[in-house]
Symmetry: C3
Subunit: 205 residues, 3 copies
């Protein structure tokens, strides 16, 4: 935080953008966690920090809604979008946490594909947030996130089928299933954010 001569009024659009940028960070940490040489303890620690920063942005957003008389769109939509972005972070944090907690050493290669989907969703979301101001180019964003979620779902089902193929010990299946399902929920959470943006755009148009 640098010295400031006068208070800067961070707009709602800036806060949404910042919230989505935390998700780009989170998705990158998740990708790091999957690499063979990752120091799980260290990545998990940085993920907790990222999750904490995201929480602060969410709180700042809520304080701003509560103290602002005229909001750019319905208060309840601002809450919904803020908590939707926050939910994505929580799910990504849970994935990293489970990998650390269960001490899983080898993860199925399919997980990398899911994390790539998450990274792409995070980038698209971060790029779309500033467009809430002009309400331009939002449709491409939500269509693409829905397409990614469909691809993620197909990959999720392939991963589950592999887990139950007999290749893994049952205790490993139990651990990996938790991780795989959390990843799927993180992707679903991105889709939910895209749906909220779509609803806002439809209302405002």
């Amino acid at each position: 935080m640098g010295l400031r001569f006068r208070p800067v009024d961070t707009s709602f659009y800036d806060l949404f953008t910042r919230a989505a940028q935390h998700l780009v960070t989170g998705a990158a940490l998740l990708a790091e966690m999957l690499s063979e040489t990752a120091d799980h303890e260290d990545v998990a620690r940085r993920m907790r920090e990222a999750e904490h920063s995201a929480d602060e942005t969410t709180h700042e957003l809520i304080r701003k809604v509560n103290s602002t008389f005229v909001t750019p769109f319905d208060r309840e939509d601002i809450y919904a979008l803020g908590s939707g972005l926050d939910d994505v972070m929580d799910m990504m944090d849970e994935v990293v946490d489970l990998i650390l907690l269960y001490e899983v050493k080898e993860l199925p290669a399919e997980l990398s594909t899911q994390v790539e989907v998450l990274q792409r969703c995070a980038e698209l979301t971060a790029a779309a947030m500033p467009n809430l101001q002009s309400m331009q180019s939002l449709e491409e964003y939500w269509i693409e996130v829905n397409r990614l979620e469909n691809a993620g779902d197909k990959n999720h089902r392939r991963t589950l089928a592999k887990l139950f193929s007999g290749e893994y010990k049952t205790i490993e299946v139990l651990k990996l299933k938790d991780i795989v399902e959390s990843l799927e929920e993180a992707i679903d959470a991105f889709e939910k954010v895209a749906n909220i943006v779509e609803q806002i755009a439809v209302k405002e148009s």
Copy 2:
């Protein structure tokens, strides 16, 4: 879609009835999936189609709420009932999907009892929807669905106890537990619909 000479105004009651009829179809497909000779791929494909049709009815309902000035009861209750009916379909679709995905060949006989409960709930719900207009005979419907849910819950617990009785391999328990729990959630989703109808009836009376 046939040729139409003038627009037909499908009422809210018609749309709720249609949504519930999709659930009758879904429950029948679920029963078919459990039969020993079922072609899992084919039943799952038809279930996806039924789920898709149900989605379309839900969207039609939402469009109608948004474009109608005077609704027969509170907008939020219409949304709640519409999404409640949609949730049942999603849960039944998930059961069929898990049976296909996990390639489960033999299902415990207790599952048939649960699917019979689901079929009965679906029929009762489809029969109750047109009564929303007159608000008559709804009480018998929600009492009976609650009774069925209780019976389903007892059967669910017996099924879980059987899964853990030592009769099944652990990896099979892991698969069957998911399927059994999704079935239970589908029955719960019917009870939730009945509760929403009860609330609407209490408000309007």
Copy 3:
């Protein structure tokens, strides 16, 4: 029920206090369930009774909100607090139920720590409810419940790590994981109640 000469108007504060006292009873039954000499059937039967009484208090609360013109705080906050307290009871009931259903004989010692957290949360909640009238001393309550939830979360993670340490057979892990996760959800449900109280206090201050 004794004979009454005139109707007694039980206040909202009394009803919230009574609801929270059911949770003290529930947490004590949960502790009893964990003791080595517990008669599981008998404790589970008394838990069902306690859960039933809690349900009645919730219904009384809802009837009172619906029939009262001026409520001490927003109707939706009364609903949220009432159903938040009810959710805790449901989760504690589920833990007792799973222990009975899965016929688990030996429970990891870590579970006792979680039940102690639950008992402490229940006592704090029951002590805080009457303070809703004066809005005094509530901050200490919600801070302490949040602290307890953090401690519970750390213990929860230790318990999960133990379950997967190789000490337990996989089928036991599958059972215990369900029980351990329900315990964690019961603690989370207490935190949610504390958050609702915090929101009410902030609004009213």
